[in-house]
Symmetry: C2
Subunit: 118 residues, 2 copies
């Protein structure tokens, strides 16, 4: 546990062994949350919530990020007043090898098939 | 479309191209539904709802099977008064290659890890 001024406000995350498959699947079962996860997978691990162009209110966006965090799919850390988001790839891969990649591949196939792959 | 006396009561199913990833993940995000899918994957494709030993009421069981059917995860057909259930493996594999197997493997790992793998 590192504790500096910059990270003194820590958000609750499940430990690796507290992450449940059902919770991960539930977190990924929403179109917007799936979009967030796809963008994190593509664009890297230090994206603030405001980097995502989601067609919902700020409070709904916050809700979706919280579901992703509390299920163990993403890690959120404060940097100043911004929350930075990253996928918990290593934890998920350790627990459920291949699962995240197969979901991302499925999401990509569906997006291409539906003509909104861009 | 076959239509015989035995299959005259047909239940609504999404066509393959109507199956949505989000709906599949939602269907799989419940512990009991995941258990049903694991049993269908292990024990074959013609199991009646009553073959499953679920710790819930009959109406709740019916609800879970309906969620699985309406999301495209299982196919349900009447045989007399019983509904027989089978995984839509081919449809899911065609749409989302590897997804079902990675979820089943993840469920198996979690079950073994939690000591309820039997």
């Amino acid at each position: 546990m590192t504790s500096t001024a910059a990270t003194s406000r820590e958000l609750p995350h499940p430990e690796r062994d507290e992450i449940r498959l059902e919770g991960v699947l539930h977190a990924l079962s929403d179109p917007l949350r799936l979009q967030i996860v796809r963008e994190l997978a593509t664009d890297g691990d230090e994206l603030s919530c405001s980097a995502f162009d989601l067609p919902v209110t700020k409070s709904t966006t916050t809700h979706h990020f919280r579901v992703l965090r509390e299920s163990g799919v993403i890690r959120q850390v404060y940097r100043g007043t911004a929350k930075l988001n990253g996928l918990r790839r290593d934890d998920l891969e350790d627990l459920f090898p291949g699962l995240l990649d197969s979901v991302l591949a499925a999401a990509e196939r569906q997006a291409v098939g539906l003509g909104d792959g861009g």
